[in-house]
């Protein structure tokens, strides 16, 4: 396929690997390819590179290097944190608290445990997609062993009060895990300030490579291995280290940390502009997620009378890459569980669009995008029986 111009607005699904990160990885494929567990000098180079990346990641979180455990991505980190904690603390209790808007990597893992004798409380969120803190508080029981609430939601970008949750968990002697896959590298997170015991992150969400992530595990947390085998990762996660992946993620994290403020400002400018124009120019639409407490790069709208996939395909024909809910759920017929959790009726949830910008986007691209959306929404409404009924019933004029 030819490389054609495209406006990429799906950075929550995955990001472009930073050229610096690719550059950093390259020597570890065919030059310093030694297995870090080996004792000869060739391997010392790869070991050193892995150590450096570990220190970088730990530094960003205010953690110790030996609290960082590399995984194959965010899903493995989530599975590990939750399943291994459940097992290690089963004698204390079998109750886990999470939210209704977690990623499937958390929700399906909890479902798995629910079928095996664990009890899960899925706490509600408000209409802006922020966890109901009082409900969370009330959900705590003597046998609660883990609270898992994400740092930022992947669909509507809403930021959760992890500092307060961490404090609450600590007060009750409950472990706190946060899925920071969407947040790490995008907003500042400090594991000690927020009393985070475990934190999941994934390289490809902050311009690192795919297939690599990490789980932060606070020293002292009793956690079992998830992958058994060799003695890698202090015997907690077996498997020959993905050295190039680790190096690429380390480099991307360092870059993300260093440029975080200016990137976030640029993203806020772009996403704010999108929101402003869309709200002003497109009737019967609604911004999903909290207007202020949201990831700088996230825009999520619902358009009444319009179905999301049609919108996406038409945008794609105009070279605009966007998403309708989580990338993982596309192909499914159910609308996103997150949009339902914030109270959207099914048909509105079906008509949602997620645009997640990067600092590399431009205002011109935003204009092009809004113009395209306007035109497409109008076109789809013109062929929508729901819109036809609405206009007739309400006796309204077509205001499109």
């Amino acid at each position: 396929m030819e490389e054609k111009k495209c406006i990429y607005l799906d950075n929550a699904a995955t990001t472009k690997t930073a050229p610096e990160a690719v550059e950093a990885m390259l020597p570890y494929f065919s030059t310093w390819y030694g297995n870090p567990s080996s004792i000869y000098s060739l391997a010392a180079e790869s070991k050193k590179a892995v150590t450096k990346a570990r220190e970088t990641l730990a530094g960003i979180l205010g953690a110790e290097a030996n609290e960082i455990y590399f995984t194959a991505g965010g899903s493995e980190a989530d599975n590990w944190a939750i399943k291994a904690t459940a097992e290690a603390y089963a004698d204390k209790g079998k109750h886990i608290i999470t939210s209704k808007i977690e990623h499937h990597a958390v929700l399906h893992t909890c479902d798995y445990l629910a079928k095996r004798g664990y009890e899960i409380t899925y706490v509600d969120v408000d209409e802006d997609g922020i966890i109901k803190f009082e409900d969370l508080k009330r959900a705590i029981r003597p046998d609660t062993i883990l609270i898992s609430v994400m740092t930022a939601n992947n669909e509507i970008g809403s930021l959760q009060p992890i500092r307060e949750i961490g404090k609450l968990a600590k007060e009750h002697g409950i472990l706190f895990h946060t899925d920071a896959v969407q947040a790490f590298g995008h907003i500042p997170i400090e594991v000690n300030e927020c009393h985070i015991d475990m934190l999941s992150a994934s390289g490809h969400k902050f311009n690192g490579p795919k297939g690599i992530g990490f789980l932060y595990i606070r020293k002292g947390v009793k956690i079992r291995s998830f992958l058994h085998g060799g003695a890698q990762e202090r015997s907690r996660r077996a498997g020959t280290e993905n050295v190039p992946g680790i190096v690429g993620m380390g480099c991307a994290a360092e870059l993300a940390e260093r440029t975080m403020q200016e990137r976030a400002e640029k993203e806020r400018e772009l996403s704010g502009y999108l929101i402003e124009r869309m709200e002003k120019e497109i009737p019967y639409c609604r911004l999903n997620g909290d207007r202020n407490k949201r990831l700088p790069n996230n825009v999520n709208f619902s358009f009444q009378f319009v179905e999301g996939e049609s919108l996406l395909i038409m945008l794609d024909r105009k070279g605009i890459c966007a998403s309708s809910g989580s990338a993982c759920t596309s192909g499914s017929l159910d609308p996103s569980h997150v949009l339902l959790a914030i109270g959207l009726p099914h048909e509105i949830a079906h008509g949602s669009l997620r645009l997640t910008v990067s600092h590399e986007n431009t205002i011109e691209e935003m204009d092009e995008t809004v113009d395209a959306i306007k035109e497409i929404v109008k076109r789809l409404r013109d062929m929508s029986p729901l819109y036809e009924d609405f206009i007739k019933k309400e006796g309204k004029e077509d205001v499109q």
Binding site: F305, V306, E307, G308, E309, S310, I313, M314, R317, G331, L333, P335, P345, H346, E347, H350, D382, M383, S384, P385, L386, Y387, E388
Partner: protein, 142 residues
């Protein structure tokens, strides 16, 4: 994901619109599942489908199957229209992804629903036509 035919019918849907005082109108599907199709038929005294229009809320496959279904029945007799199955629609579109097969069923149902409306209004019976479910997803839930 979609064949070129599907993309063509999605991007350039044939017969979009309404027919005022249509001989028959049928609406199937529900918004909960993300698909609603409405078909308008204009049928002459010889039971020939003179014109057909549709409106659809749904995914690319829903739009394309509606468009193709209208093409397949246009100019045909009511009896011929009864032969337009979801399979015929799919074949005419060079196939659909497995998760989208239900869209072609919806298109078949929409035609039938419009024909039922026509038959009821005119007090006639069409061979092989059953009362449409108001929601084709009824009874399908697990």
């Amino acid at each position: 994901m979609y064949s070129e035919k599907v993309m063509d019918h999605f991007e350039h849907p044939r017969n979009v619109g309404e027919i005022e005082n249509a001989s028959g109108v049928g609406t199937v599907g529900n918004a909960k599942c993300g698909d609603i199709m409405r078909i308008y038929l204009d049928i002459d005294e010889n039971q020939i489908i003179r014109d057909v229009k549709f409106k659809t809320f749904g995914c690319g496959a829903a739009v394309a199957t509606s468009s193709m279904a209208t093409e397949l029945v246009k100019g045909k007799s009511v009896q011929q229209a009864m032969q337009v199955t979801n399979r015929a629609v799919m074949e005419a579109l060079d196939g659909l992804p497995p998760v989208k097969v239900h869209c072609s069923l919806l298109a078949e149902e929409a035609i039938h629903a419009a024909l039922w409306d026509y038959a009821e209004k005119n007090g006639i019976q069409i061979e092989g036509l059953k009362r449409p479910k108001t929601d084709i997803h009824e009874g399908e839930e697990e």
